[in-house]
Amino acid sequence: MYRKLALRNVRRQIGNYLIYFITVALTISLIFAMNNLIFNDQLQTQAQSIAELALGLVFLSIIICIIIAFVLGYANAFMLRLRKREFGTYLTVGMKRKHIVKLFLFENSLLGILAMVVGFFVGSLFYQGLMLLMTQLLDIPFEFSMFSLKGVLLTIGMVCSIFLFSSLVSSFYLNRVTIYELIHGEKKVEQGVKHPYVAMLVTGVSFVGIIVSFIFFSRELKNIFLEVDSNPGNLVWLMLLLTVSLVTFHIGLAKSLMYILLGFKHFTQRGTNQFLLRQLSAMLSSNAILLGALSFLIVFAMIAANFSFLYKEIEEANLDKQYPFDIIANINSEQEGSIPLEQAKETIESYVPIDWSKVYNGYSTNERTFHKHTIWQGDKYQDVDMYMKESEVNELLQELGSKPLNLDNQFAIFSDMPGIQGADFSEASFNHKGQTYTLSHVVESMPMFLWSYFVIVVPDEVVEGMEISQTAAAITLEEGPFDAQKLQDALSYTYKIEENNYSVLTSDYRVKEQRRLYAAAFSAIFIVGALYLAVVFILLAMAILALKILSNLRDDEKKYRLLNRLGVNEELQRKTLAKQIFVFFTFPIVVPICLSIPITIILNQFIDLAGYSAMLNFNIVSVSIVVVIGLIYFLYFMVTFGLTKKYVIQRR
């Protein structure tokens, strides 16, 4: 009997149920896709060799869990609110509370199961897309898998526990609420804004907080790169400040903006403006915290998207800088177990033919004269000045396809460290056999040829009499596939540390291809994770805004009917409604879009500091991210407006 009633209800309010259903099913599908990804066999195999991958996956699944709890809890509350009056009527005609609770739970579980089925279906499509992207990024072949059992079970577990929890809360509520409250709703006495001046003050202070957090973030970032009394922990505090300021800014603004606008009588007392402002004032101030939270989500979605792209770009550029050749050897022949170059070459040849190789040296006088001009001075740093022969450097440069040096009784400084910008070599000069050598130029973005913060490249005759302190070799390989991980393993050895008897696995040979695969795996999880989160955040924000608007449909319908009777024509009604929804929708996204400017500035600063400014231009990426977000957002607005319009706008 109750089942019949429940089914009939679903049929009657199909529109509202549809919105609830789509939101829940979409959320479930997003989680389902992620959980499947986490437990994908291919990725799990990869994850075993890469600890970061496993950790990243776990982190993602935790965030996803929080999101699903948020959306599903929210959607269920929406449902309860939608049906209050109906339940009130049941109670007045004598239905027992326990039956109503039963009815509600039955319906919810019915819908939940249905949403889960649809969510699984749509989710497995998402999953294929994600896997395609992942395998592409990881450079592994795409193996089709429908889903993973663990992923399914985890999703069911998550969804059920959240449904159970929100059902418990709802039934508790339904068991205690008065009939009056059900029928009349929480007859909130509209009081207008309570403390508008406090809210304005909060807005102002938070605005300063946002600006301050960006300025100090930029400054701190610079300090970190230039290694002057920096404290990376401050970045976390600044992020926290940004988060808090963003949320409080929106809360304050939601509670004061309309109040301020209502003061402009010439504007408000025109047509439906006053109605519009009052509507917005009520909507914004009663949803202030939610709007603050949403704007925070959108900002972080944007930051995540930006940084994931940046990370990938930098990772690639960095690889060339740290691994200028296919294999770089810094041979530590004193270390027991170290593999000599000749033996290593044989090993390499058994994997892939060697195309070219070159042994070169780092010379030193065991002095630190040049270090004194840099930020790497003082007791913390022990390294001695490292010299390289011009002829050897030129041979390396030639192999890399770069222009050779032509040092005419001068010297050049090569470094791959951003910190070299803090050095001043203008005073540095030295004498050799009666000849004075002065600085020719500093190259900041040189590949790392030796283990040193920087090298001094000098005419060949200068190194005569210096001791060879490092021996290195550059090797380029012929094209062709080989197992880079196996090669790297074959070139590794273990040695024991005397004091504590620890074994350390190390290698004097750095295989670029192995590093590339490793980096690709890491950036794959980083990019997919960050972009996925960004998408989920934005969808979530919009779903909640849409639910908010739709749950007010009944009230809005009444209001617009009254306006219609008072002589507001259809067109003006439509304009007013569009403005009302548009402002509500745009409220949490305006600040994030504005913040994309300082975010881009900081990203560019980061690129600059890290020495990639020549290689990367990030403005286009930032702009595209904003455009994409704006576009999705606009579509969502149009859909919500379209749905609302049908119910709310009055004609006869």
């Binding site: 408000t268 109605f275 009052r278 507001v568 024509n569 006869r652």
Partner: protein, 254 residues
């Protein structure tokens, strides 16, 4: 006496083909300037339909409706909105006021829609609220008012544009008898002192007895008509009760 409203052979059908209800059956009557008319009748007799047609929220199937000599049944949707805004005042049974707007803002809303200047708006607001004695509530929100107070605010809003006619559909429907009486006194005041023309639908004989003329509807037709003339209100009340008994409908008897 100048004619305000002319209802001429108005017919209204609801539904299509199989189930057609004739809600109004070629009704004709006239409302003169400054009249106060109550429309009474059993439930389903077509009272609300008639009022909605005059209010242009509903379309008529046949006949003519003229306000101030102007044909309204053939106007376009857009013109009708302006017609409602400029010529009509409304008081409904419930949900008269927008709960997000203050009392003051609710009252001045029609003037905002007409584009009346700030100064003029202010002047008319003070004038009307003084007359109706509601100036203390201006900054409050509707939810903070009693039902009776809310209806009085609705009266003020209906009056502020100086409409040709005020339409009221069971304005006392949601009020207790004491508040009903107060509201009717307000309406009477509006009619007698401010010369408003009022057309009101009601179930309640006592409420109807405040009017100068009562039209009784039955099955979409005018069945009877009572004029108060120089009678006392008490006598009018008795007459209405007697007519309703004859009418035999299920209308409230109070």
């Amino acid at each position: 006496m100048k004619k305000r409203l002319q209802i001429d052979q108005v017919t209204k059908y609801y539904g299509a083909e199989a189930i057609v209800t004739k809600a109004l059956d070629s009704i004709s009557f006239e409302v003169g300037d400054g009249e106060f008319i109550a429309i009474m009748g059993a439930s389903g007799s077509g009272k609300s339909t008639l009022l909605n047609c005059i209010a242009t929220i509903d379309r008529i199937s046949a006949g003519n409706i003229l306000l101030d000599g102007e044909q309204i049944s053939n106007k376009k949707e857009r013109e009708l909105a302006d017609y409602r805004r400029d010529k009509l005042g409304f008081i409904f049974q419930e949900y008269n006021l927008l709960d997000t707007l203050t009392v003051e803002e609710n009252i001045t809303l029609p003037l905002n829609l007409q584009g009346v200047s700030l100064k003029e708006t202010e002047k008319r607001l003070i004038d009307i609220t003084d007359k109706l004695g509601i100036h203390e509530q201006l900054k409050k929100f509707p939810m903070a008012l009693s039902g009776g107070q809310r209806q009085r605010v609705a009266c003020a809003r209906a009056l502020i544009t100086n409409p040709s006619i005020i339409l009221a559909d069971e304005p006392t429907g949601a009020l207790d008898s004491a508040n009903s009486k107060k509201l009717m006194e307000t309406l009477l005041f509006m009619n007698e002192q401010l010369h408003s023309t009022i057309l009101m639908v009601t179930h309640d004989a006592l409420v109807g007895s405040f009017a100068k003329r009562v039209l009784f509807l039955k099955d979409g037709k005018i069945w009877n008509e009572l004029y108060r003339g120089n009678q006392s209100q008490r006598a009018m009340h008795e007459d209405i009760l007697a007519t309703m008994a004859l009418l035999g409908g299920e209308g409230h008897v109070s």
